[in-house]
């Protein structure tokens, strides 16, 4: 259902229309001050329509335009004496924190199920046995560390711009993370697992890559957090800090994604497992799309954005 909001000349009230198959039908009016923010209008709207809580509402000036922010003030918007606001229902919402915690806790738990060779995953004679390859134990530590780090960052580090995302995302995201985690864990912890061709050398190199990238990823998250004071939604250009890991900001807009891909490449080399490589590839594709989008919005928002930076891979992509 679409609604339109009308503000007559006095600018002091909103008239709501609802579009039905029979045409436009006026509904209950609400009184609103011109100094009201969009957030307040959303709250008022929720009172008369409780099924559409504020997080579900998208109000915009143009049906195809961007959503208005909660902080925008009605008076300051580019409207004439009569304003028309368009409403869209975003669907059931769920908070980002909830989604992140669920989608990261899954792989952590699932991998351990395979690591400990819980019954019904492999043949009966392998139940609760342990691999004789040291790289398998190392891989478990790395994988678990990675997801524990992510969980802790979600709880204590990240500062989210949006509170919520559509509910169906949790099913999509969890399927992706949990599915791939199970697939990778199955092969790495399999009784017939083959350790890397170049032995300890390969594992050591891979571990170094992994650790460096994890530290890098964490440093970037901390740097991004410091850009934004608690509870605010300000956006600023990120710059390198004293921490050498953040120097990647000189070359790349989203070094956190760069380091993330690097970690997974390291993990793939460490385990020499094709599913891990495929997971890295898929993740890289998705992160590239995100990085390009972020890069584009940086360029649009900031005139003085450093020109040397590429979205995700220095000089290339």
């Amino acid at each position: 259902m679409r609604w339109r909001f009308w503000m007559p000349r006095q600018g002091k009230s909103c008239v709501f229309w609802t579009r039905t198959p029979r045409g436009d039908v006026p509904a209950l009016p609400l009184q609103v001050e011109p100094q009201a923010t969009i957030a307040e209008i959303k709250n008022l709207f929720t009172k008369t329509h409780p099924q559409w809580y504020p997080a579900r509402q998208s109000l915009r000036l143009d049906p195809k335009g961007k959503s208005l922010k909660d902080e925008d003030i009605l008076q300051k918007l580019p409207v004439g004496t009569t304003a028309t606001l368009y409403f869209r229902d975003l669907g059931a919402q769920i908070s980002w924190v909830t989604v992140f915690l669920t989608e990261y806790a899954g792989p952590l738990f699932i991998y351990l199920l395979f690591y400990f060779r819980v019954p019904f995953l492999y043949g009966h004679k392998y139940d609760f046995t342990s691999s004789r390859h040291s790289v398998v134990h190392l891989a478990c530590i790395c994988h678990s560390f990675h997801y524990v780090k992510r969980l802790l960052e979600t709880l204590f580090v990240h500062r989210f711009s949006h509170g919520t995302m559509p509910l169906r995302n949790i099913f999509k995201n969890c399927t992706y993370y949990w599915g791939f985690a199970a697939w990778m864990a199955y092969y790495i912890n399999h009784p017939l697992y083959t350790p890397p061709t170049y032995g300890a050398q390969q594992v050591k190199l891979a571990l170094a890559i992994f650790v460096i990238c994890q530290l890098g990823n964490f440093s970037i998250h901390m740097a991004l957090r410091d850009l934004r004071p608690a509870g605010s939604k300000t956006r600023k250009i990120p710059y390198p800090t004293k921490n050498p890991f953040t120097w990647l900001f000189l070359l790349v807009s989203c070094p956190n994604y760069t380091y993330e891909v690097g970690s997974w490449i390291g993990f793939a080399i460490m385990t020499q497992c094709l599913p891990v490589a495929l997971f890295s590839l898929v993740g890289f594709t998705q992160m590239t799309i995100w990085a390009k989008g972020k890069h584009r919005s940086y360029l649009k928002e900031f005139r003085d954005y450093p020109p040397l930076r590429m979205p995700i891979v220095p000089f290339l992509l």
């Binding site: 006095q10 045409g23 039908v25 049906p63 092969y187 399999h190 017939l192 497992c273």
Partner: protein, 301 residues
């Protein structure tokens, strides 16, 4: 309601509030976004419908978005391809129509020559492979934007057809004599002839109602026919895949990976169960919309 009028600063009118008693809100010029959004939704769903199925007459509804319900009112926000692109697309669609006609004629001739409908696959094997694989170009068309469809959905659709041709029928020689192959080939042939001629005429803005009707009606029979043919063929291929260990790799190996083509085929077959009803009923729904739309338009013309 009186309060409403007072608040809005307009003269109250007697009678129940009707849409016409207040000045209408300023609408966006033409094709209110309601329409175009619904249409674009329909288009996306249409593509989803056609893409996800591997059945024959998914072609019937598939790419419905590409030329849309063809009485293209200028109100639609669709970007038309330039004249060069249009010319190329017309040629492409004509060639494809001709190709599938060749396959159809080949089938009929082979049937008449042999006197039976068994093992007709061999007589049209080459053109079938050529023209169905040629449909891969459609992915390119979407990618470069001359066809307004989603690349992902089109890829899905075309790849599934190509999969059936190469990875099942070509790879497992023993199924080539099965009757189920004829079943899906026939369904595909009729569907594709209608579909490509539909596109050709749409691009030239001269779509005969008969083609439109055919496209949105024949799927009712062709779609289940095609799906049955495909499923039966895959089912027939299973024992041979198992026997030969076709396209399968097992542990242990250097890359710690395994793939069981037999299980994969079974998964494909299972995936038809949720997909087919959804797509089929979506097509029925589309049909109602498109064909009644035409009647309305005819009334106004």
């Amino acid at each position: 309601m009186a309060a409403l009028w007072a608040v809005s600063g307009l003269r109250p009118r007697p009678g129940p509030a009707s849409p016409w008693s207040l000045p209408p809100p300023p609408r966006p010029a033409k094709s209110s976004l309601w329409c175009s959004r619904t249409e674009s939704e329909l288009r996306v769903l249409d593509m989803a419908a056609s893409a996800v199925a591997t059945a024959a007459s998914k072609g019937n509804g598939g790419g419905g978005g590409r030329s849309g319900p063809s009485e293209g009112s200028s109100a639609r926000k669709k970007k038309f391809p330039g004249p060069l692109a249009t010319a190329y697309l017309v040629i492409y669609n004509v060639v494809m129509t001709a190709g599938w006609l060749v396959i159809a004629v080949g089938l009929v001739r082979a049937y008449l020559a042999k006197g039976s409908y068994h093992s007709l696959y061999y007589s049209i094997e080459k053109p079938l492979k050529f023209f169905q694989t040629g449909a891969l170009l459609e992915i390119l068309h979407c990618a470069i934007g001359i066809v307004p469809s989603s690349v992902v959905l089109t890829s899905f659709q075309v790849m599934s057809r190509v999969f059936l041709i190469w990875a099942v029928t070509h790879s497992v020689k023993e199924v080539q004599t099965e009757d189920s192959v004829l079943l899906f080939v026939t369904a595909w042939t009729i569907t594709e002839i209608i579909r490509y001629s539909f596109y050709t005429f749409s691009l030239l803005n001269h779509l005969p109602y008969l083609i439109k009707w055919a496209r949105y009606t024949l799927f009712i029979v062709l779609y289940p026919m095609g799906v049955s043919g495909e499923l039966l063929t895959i089912y027939a291929a299973l024992p041979f895949v198992r026997q030969a260990g076709l396209y399968s790799i097992s542990l242990p190996n250097k890359y710690n990976f395994s793939f069981d083509y037999y299980a994969f085929l079974i998964l494909i077959m299972i995936s038809y169960i949720p997909l087919f009803p959804q797509l089929y009923f979506h097509m029925i729904h589309q049909r109602r919309k498109v064909l009644s739309h035409t009647e309305e338009h005819k009334k106004f013309e």
